[in-house]
């Protein structure tokens, strides 16, 4: 009846042909599937052409996300790769490199921006071989060059072996900041492991002031392996001496001193106090309001509300700390806008937070929509 598969005369059957496919084919299919997930996960309802800006009360506000991390999986140290892999959902954690390549590429980041309606973004270099990894100034410059109208670059430098390498590193930093699109400096004392109050590193702030390059600094703890959680590396209170002694340097305190280990507000009040006291201090509320870091959804609301209460809205510069995963950039923008709504921000205040304050600090035009 079905001669191909079985015979009723009792003779045996060897079975059909085996299905075989190479690892490469499977991996390609997997990456296509992930790219599709990236698109679908980031797509807004309606899936229409990219329209920039975020709509609040009928008004479309331009958005600049000053804090994004491109990179290469191979430039993340093994312990951190293992840590990240454990946090990737299954089955993507079986191919973390493939996932990362898609998300961290200039195309992947641009796709995230498109889906979030974000006009422009800052891309961060970092030299943190013990913890977060390395994204060189050259990599950032190359990424910025792919989309110079949308990407800005923040340069960084190696702080290890500072006693012998200080002059060379400062020269490299200056050269990096001379490249097109490189507008600021990124430092992360906790990841790079140097004290916030060590005067040996103040030459960085002096150079930044000379070049008119604002400095973004990671404040607060971090769950990345190899990070120092010591207060002198994480608590922005230890920056006060540097801030006070360098009035021409702009310090942008990233993450508002958030305690990412215990998922608590951390040094928010210190950040606010510094902003109230010193005109060269700005505040950036990235990452602390993500679903991972703020599962109850209360900390970002509290932080945005406190900053408005304290009268430092003109110091808030929006950033997300993306791309992290498909849809994160849009999701973080949505959560921030929701937090501002909930805490009574006016349209003009939201406009300032989302793009205006960045434009003022970096002496750039607000994006047109």
């Amino acid at each position: 009846m079905t001669p191909l598969l079985g015979r009723r005369d009792g003779t045996s059957f060897d079975g059909g042909g085996a299905v075989s496919y190479t690892h490469g084919v499977i991996r390609t299919v997997h990456r296509l599937a992930f790219a599709l997930a990236l698109a679908l996960g980031s797509a807004s309802f309606g899936c229409s052409e990219t329209e920039l800006g975020v709509v609040v009360d009928g008004q479309r506000l331009p958005v600049i996300d000053m804090h994004l991390h491109p990179g290469e999986w191979s430039s993340i140290p093994p312990a951190t790769r293992a840590f990240l892999t454990r946090n990737f959902p299954f089955p993507f954690n079986t191919d973390p490199e493939g996932v990362a390549e898609t998300v961290l590429s200039p195309e992947g980041i641009a796709s995230e921006l498109d889906n979030a309606g974000i006009s422009q973004a800052g891309l961060f270099a970092i030299y943190a071989p013990r913890s977060a990894g390395v994204a060189t100034n050259e990599l950032i410059q190359a990424h910025v060059a792919t989309k110079p109208a949308r990407f800005f670059g923040f340069a960084s430098l190696k702080t290890d072996d500072w006693a012998t390498r200080e002059a060379a590193e400062l020269t490299r930093l200056e050269q990096a900041l001379a490249e097109p699109g490189m507008i600021g400096v990124k430092l992360a004392h906790a990841h790079q492991r140097f004290r916030m109050d060590d005067p040996a590193y103040y030459s960085i702030y002096e150079l930044a002031a000379q070049l008119g390059a604002p400095i973004y600094l990671h404040t607060g703890t971090s769950p990345a392996p190899g990070t120092s959680q010591d207060p002198a590396y994480t608590d922005p209170a230890y920056l006060e001496d540097a801030i006070a002694s360098h009035p021409q340097t702009v310090f942008i305190l990233g993450h508002l001193g958030y305690d990412f280990i215990n998922k608590q507000i951390g040094a928010l009040e210190t950040c606010i106090s510094l902003a109230q006291t010193y005109e060269n201090v700005y505040l950036e509320p990235s990452a602390l309001g993500s679903a991972f870091s703020d599962p109850e959804g209360t900390n970002l609301v509290m932080a945005m509300g406190r900053m408005r209460e304290a009268g430092v809205v003109d110091r808030i510069i929006y950033g997300s700390d993306g791309p992290q995963s498909p849809g994160f950039v849009k999701g973080y923008l949505d959560r921030t806008v929701a937090a501002m709504r909930e805490t009574g921000y006016t349209i003009d205040e939201m406009r300032a937070v989302l793009a205006g304050n960045f434009a003022k600090v970096f002496n750039m035009p607000v994006p047109t929509l």
């Binding site: 430039s75 140290p77 071989p129 013990r130 390395v134 702080t159 290890d160 072996d161 500072w162 492991r193 140097f194 004290r195 109050d197 060590d198 040996a200 010591d230 207060p231 002198a232 590396y233 608590d235 209170a237 230890y238 006060e240």
Partner: protein
Amino acid sequence: MTRSIGLSCWVALALGCVNEDLRFYEVELSGTITTADPTLDGQGEVHLELHHERVGLGEFEHPFGLIESWTLATGEREFTGTGLVPTDNGAVGLVVYAWLDLDGDGVLCSVDGDRSEPAGFVVLDGYPAHSLEFVLTLSETCKGPEGL
């Protein structure tokens, strides 16, 4: 129980069942900590850390990598302890770093505390060896290991 697990895993090892394969080198440390300022003798707790001298390869290479830490009793300046040094991470050399906690808050030169706490480090000559001695003088104020 241990023997039977060991036997079965020799078999399994032949089939490749080792997952984490950790290797350590045991070092018995003994040393004396002094302060450049003799008036600090007998004061405060010494926080002592054993570090790799350098860790990592290529773009990941960096100085210092914390292995283990100890806290001596208040006023104590003689140290003995055992460190288990990981040997499968491309690290070289050993360094002892220490600082004196004069105000007892557990933080070197905390922003609200004593801002005169001294620190210092010494490279342990002779590593690899299972027994190492050192003398460490705390002479730099408010310096983390990277600042020395």
